[in-house]
Amino acid sequence: MIYLEQFTYLLASALFIIGLKYLGSAKTARRGNQYSMIAMAVAIVVTLVVSGIAGPIQIIVGMVAGGLIGGIVAKKIEMTSMPQMVALFNGFGGIASTLVAYSEYLEPTTLPVTLDVNITLILSLFIGTVTLTGSLIAFAKLQGLMPGRPIVLPLHQILNFLLMLGVIVLGVMYIMEPAIPMWPLLIIAVAAVFGITFVIPIGGADMPVVIALLNSYSGLAASATGFVLSNNVLIIAGALVGASGLILTQLMCQAMNRSLFNVLFGAVGTDDSTGDAGVGGGEQKTVTRYTAEDAGMIMDTVQSVIIVPGYGLAVAQAQHVLNEMAEILTARGIDVKYAIHPVAGRMPGHMNVLLAEANVPYDMLYEMDDINDEFQNTDVALIIGANDVVNPSARTKKDSPLYGMPILNVDYARTVMFVKRSMGAGFAGEANPLFFDDKTMMVFGDAKAVVTGLVKVLKENE
């Protein structure tokens, strides 16, 4: 039986890997996800078959309760709320690992409990609990249940250091006297506090990095549980998720030109509003204001348009009407493309999903590096609800917080059109000199109202 179990776990692990491989292309991604589903089903079934079902009620209660909640959430969730959902699910992965590890502490599967099991048990309790409370804070910030601005306590870093030290000390105590039930509980308690103090000083705008990192932790928590149980499928699946989260974390940091250290400990950011926080300052340069009608007239005469969507677009729920505009333009033979900055939206890849939901075909969506050379041959760069990712100060102004961040080269287009609610600067608080450029048209207003106006003009001139 042990061979059946081991080989089936190996099969499941292989299926997870194939599933992840198919996720490398939009054409096969859905199949990849299905492979992972099969892998999970295989792992669950063989576990039940091999261990024999001793407590059917217990298992059914847990499976049905979790399955129902998960299914309802998956059906109901709005695509704009995906970051919150992923944050919360990261936390669930964490708490599941903590619970399994603690249950294993109470009723060890193999006796005597060896040193390495105890060490990995501590790791599992610690990572799982940090993932849980850290994710709950990230969820609360994204959901607006608590302010997005960084919360920095006095001596914050020293406090974090002491908490880490506390976990290590408690871990040593636990290994010396595993029978004392207080030690694992204290480890959980200190880890819970650490998860909170770890995430509260991180600003709302940096949450994409944090949820990617916690995604990684949720995988590592599963792996740690696999170490405790000497179960390879847990170790492998957890390691895959851990690696995935880490890569996304890295990519997000690169896209903001920040180090992970700076994101985690820099306490950067003011508040988590929609990117119009803080006013651009006292510069008295003149801005040319235009209306949606003016913009529509221009759109009537162009050959090529690149649309740069930002999170402001999603806040205004303007994706659908934007797609309608793009379809009208495309039908007239105008070349329409979307340029997606890596940090557009609230999590890695978020903007792509929001546009896909609005029926924008994914072959119209271009990554920054693939489209940046095209702006110079483009008539109109239409920027909707974005600011920092197109701010040329990032190239030249050395003292700017944006300096060095890769941006979309919208200023190379013949006409630059901003649809924005106000003159406000972005998260970084850096004024955008492009607003004052001669070739820039500023159209102020709600993104949905403006684009609807644009569509109306275009239709009138049909």
Partner: protein, 99 residues
């Protein structure tokens, strides 16, 4: 200790495989990648099943039942929402006529 060494081997190699595969996932699919990996991290359900699989309601069993529930939220919720999202990605340019 020997099993720990084997576990470390398996873990390290799996991390490398993960790096190789995920580097090839285009940014277009990064959100489904995250929700899908949420579901995969629900693999803890295997450990939870072992913990809950007893015909009693001792603390260790109850913790296992809770762990099953949390892990299954991830598994079902994660896979379903990923599938829903991936279903939205369409390639064909749909040109509206007579709009």
């Amino acid at each position: 200790m020997e099993s720990l060494i084997v576990s470390i081997y398996v873990f390290t190699l799996a991390v490398f495989v993960g790096f190789e595969l995920v580097t090839k996932v285009p940014p277009l699919l990064h959100t489904p990648l995250m929700s899908g990996s949420n579901a995969i991290s629900g693999i803890t359900v295997v450990g939870a099943l072992l913990a809950a699989n007893a015909n009693n309601w001792k603390v260790s069993t109850i913790l296992g039942v809770l762990a099953i529930a949390f892990a299954m939220i991830n598994v079902i919720g994660g896979f379903m929402v990923t599938d829903r999202m991936l279903g939205m990605f369409k390639k064909d340019k749909k040109v509206e006529k007579g709009a």
